[in-house]
């Protein structure tokens, strides 16, 4: 269990934004020096508001994007700069689940073929053998054989996401990158899918990199959490530590926004002032200082260092902690 399956160190990704013929080329720093690691069989969640770079981080780890800098180790193999032709092994070990179950399944393919596609690409199994595995996996995700000959548009959102999970599962992957897998679903369906993901994890010892903006979902599924803001992880640590003892002012504000199902309970909400700064023109010093309720002089000029909080594996980047 203590085997590090994924180790990401200092990855960066910037996109060049063209701005007119004579304008200076601008760069958008989507991911800026992100590091984290995941133990085998555990779930690491990236949370943050939209545009904070959490999806880009997921796409870097799955190598749909190539990082500008940094290292990505998956199961002892460094993959950050490898060419597509050298990624065959990794493409089998790492699978993705996407946010929109309507768009991520090809509308012109039968469910059977959608799920069998990874087998077709990576194995030389016979058609019959493939179909046997497909029927098996359909049962595992809570669908049945009779669904296999239909098209994706004939299913509801939750069922489609099950198809997406079946497709990710059929290669028996070590790591699944789940990019907001439940945010397009109804709340009642969300919990079914989350429980399915958890069951699969304990059964097949799968590691999840879970990307979400929904803190209640994250609380349900994670072992570790990384809170992202403007392309950097501002705080990371075990789930309980983050939820019960948040250190970074941004994490505190984020947690205070979670609604509590109790109408009589009045809690103090921390309302952040101002807008999210443009990642094309990020603030100097601490990226959060423009909206931070407890910002100090030093925050405007010096980038805070990552410091360990008393608890194991609980890290935070804030000047309040380092002083």
């Amino acid at each position: 269990m203590s085997n590090k399956l994924l180790k990401v160190t200092g990855i960066r990704k910037s996109f060049d934004i063209p701005s007119g013929v004579f304008g200076r080329k601008k760069t958008l720093k989507a991911v800026n020096d992100v590091s984290f690691e995941i133990m085998e069989g555990q779930t690491f969640s990236l949370v943050g508001e939209s545009g904070c770079g959490k999806s880009s981080t997921g796409r870097l780890v799955s190598r749909l994007l190539t990082p500008s800098d940094g290292e990505i180790w998956i199961d002892g193999e460094e993959i950050s700069q490898k060419k597509e032709s050298q990624l065959k092994k990794m493409r089998q070990k790492v699978q993705m689940i996407f946010q929109d179950p309507y768009a991520s399944l090809n509308p012109r393919m039968k469910v059977r073929d959608i799920i069998a596609e990874p087998l077709l690409i990576h194995t030389k199994l016979s058609k019959l053998e493939q179909q046997r595995l497909v029927s098996e996996i359909l049962k595992v995700v809570g669908l049945n054989e009779s669904h296999a000959d239909r098209y994706a548009h004939e299913f509801s959102g939750g069922q489609r996401q099950r198809i997406g999970i079946a497709r990710a599962l059929i290669m028996k992957p070590r790591l699944i990158i789940a990019d907001e897998p439940v945010s397009a679903l109804d709340v009642s369906i969300q919990s079914q899918i989350l429980n399915l993901l958890k069951d699969l994890q304990s059964e097949y010892n799968i590691t999840y990199l879970f990307i979400s903006h929904d803190l209640s979902v994250v609380e349900h599924i994670s072992d570790y959490i990384g809170v992202m803001y403007l392309g950097t992880i501002v705080e990371s640590g075990p789930k309980d530590a983050i939820f019960s003892d948040p250190q970074h002012p941004y994490t505190k504000a984020l947690l205070s926004s979670v609604p509590v199902p109790d109408p009589t309970f009045r809690k103090e909400r921390i309302i952040l002032k101002g807008d999210l700064p443009s990642p094309m023109n990020p603030p100097t010093g601490c990226p959060f200082h423009t909206r931070c309720p407890v910002s100090m002089e030093v925050c405007k000029t010096i980038e805070p260092k990552v410091t360990q909080v008393a608890l194991d594996n609980h890290f935070v980047s804030c000047h309040l902690m380092s002083s």
Binding site: V94, D100, P118, E154
Partner: protein
């Protein structure tokens, strides 16, 4: 008891039962009256293309010097030409030439253009630039001028007409397919295929190509009309079929000397060309409304 049993039955029933894509297309296409009628006409032409020579009342090549330049009569339904050949028979037999030349040239152009367009849109970069700039060069020439130049190089003949017409079809297909490829490759299922390590060829032809098909079908039908006109024009100019072949364009060319005295010699093949081109364009319009509702013109 009955209530619970129905609930149990419904448990695995999928919510909405939709038509299969083909069935849905057929139902919608039937509603397009004009296009449906036009496609019946084309179907008739295709049948004639197959059986034309055996149902023609006269030999289309056999001159009859006793009956030259006769107007339509009960003996010769559409009249006779300068050598006394029956125009109706010649049009029936010529259907095969017209349809095969236009369809094959458009299909060749479509296949080559589609492959180039998908590669151009999918890979982008320098490949895209080379393919698109070369098409721009081709676009700079008027279609017919380009075709004349190609036939002039290759020499006259129906096969060279097919080559010429397909060559000038390629860039428009490439451009069309490129633009729908650019749109299709943004789909999440394309990203999903990439993430599972699908090779480029599979992504291009299994995931992207089907997204471009509906636009392609519409454009193919539209282009066939244009190809008929182009092929006929080349024959009219003496660059296509040799004068004795019952090609519609060649018949126009033969008859132009008698425009004042026996106008039916030109009129009849002219009407045949007109109706066929019109029918293909109407089908194209109808197909576009069914398959590609975004570009529907009001």
């Amino acid at each position: 008891m009955e209530f619970t049993s129905t609930v149990r039955e419904k448990k695995h029933v999928v919510p909405k039962k939709k038509y299969s894509p083909v069935r849905e297309f057929w139902v919608n296409f039937r509603r397009q009256k004009t296009a449906f009628f036009a496609s019946m006409f084309i179907l008739l032409l295709i049948i004639i293309a197959f059986v034309g020579p055996s149902i023609a009342p006269y030999d289309p090549y056999q001159p009859d010097y006793d009956a030259t330049l006769q107007g339509p009569s009960s003996e010769h339904v559409l009249g006779t030409d300068e050598y006394g050949r029956d125009i109706f028979s010649r049009i029936l037999v010529g259907t095969r030439i017209t349809l095969s030349v236009s369809m094959s040239s458009v299909l060749i152009g479509a296949v080559v253009g589609t492959v180039l367009g998908i590669m151009s849109g999918y890979f982008g970069g320098w490949l895209d630039r080379i393919i698109m700039r070369s098409s721009d060069v081709m676009f700079a020439f008027p279609d017919l001028l380009l075709a004349i130049a190609i036939v002039a190089i290759l020499g006259p003949g129906l096969n060279n007409v097919i080559i010429a017409v397909s060559v000038f079809s390629v860039p428009s297909f490439a451009r069309l397919v490129r633009s729908s490829t650019l749109e299709a490759k943004e789909n999440t299922f394309v990203e999903a295929a990439k993430s599972m390590g699908a090779p480029h060829k599979r992504i291009m032809f299994k995931h992207i190509f089907p997204e471009t098909v509906s636009g392609l079908i519409v454009f193919v039908t539209m282009r066939i009309g244009g190809a008929i006109i182009a092929a006929s024009s080349l024959s009219f100019l003496g660059l296509g079929a040799s004068p004795e072949t019952p090609d519609w364009g060649a018949m126009l060319s033969m008859g132009r000397d008698y425009l004042g005295t026996a106008s039916h010699v030109v009129m009849m093949p002219g009407i045949a060309i007109f109706l066929t081109v019109l029918a293909f364009n109407l089908i194209g319009d109808g197909l576009r409304d069914v398959l590609d509702p975004k570009t529907k013109n009001e």
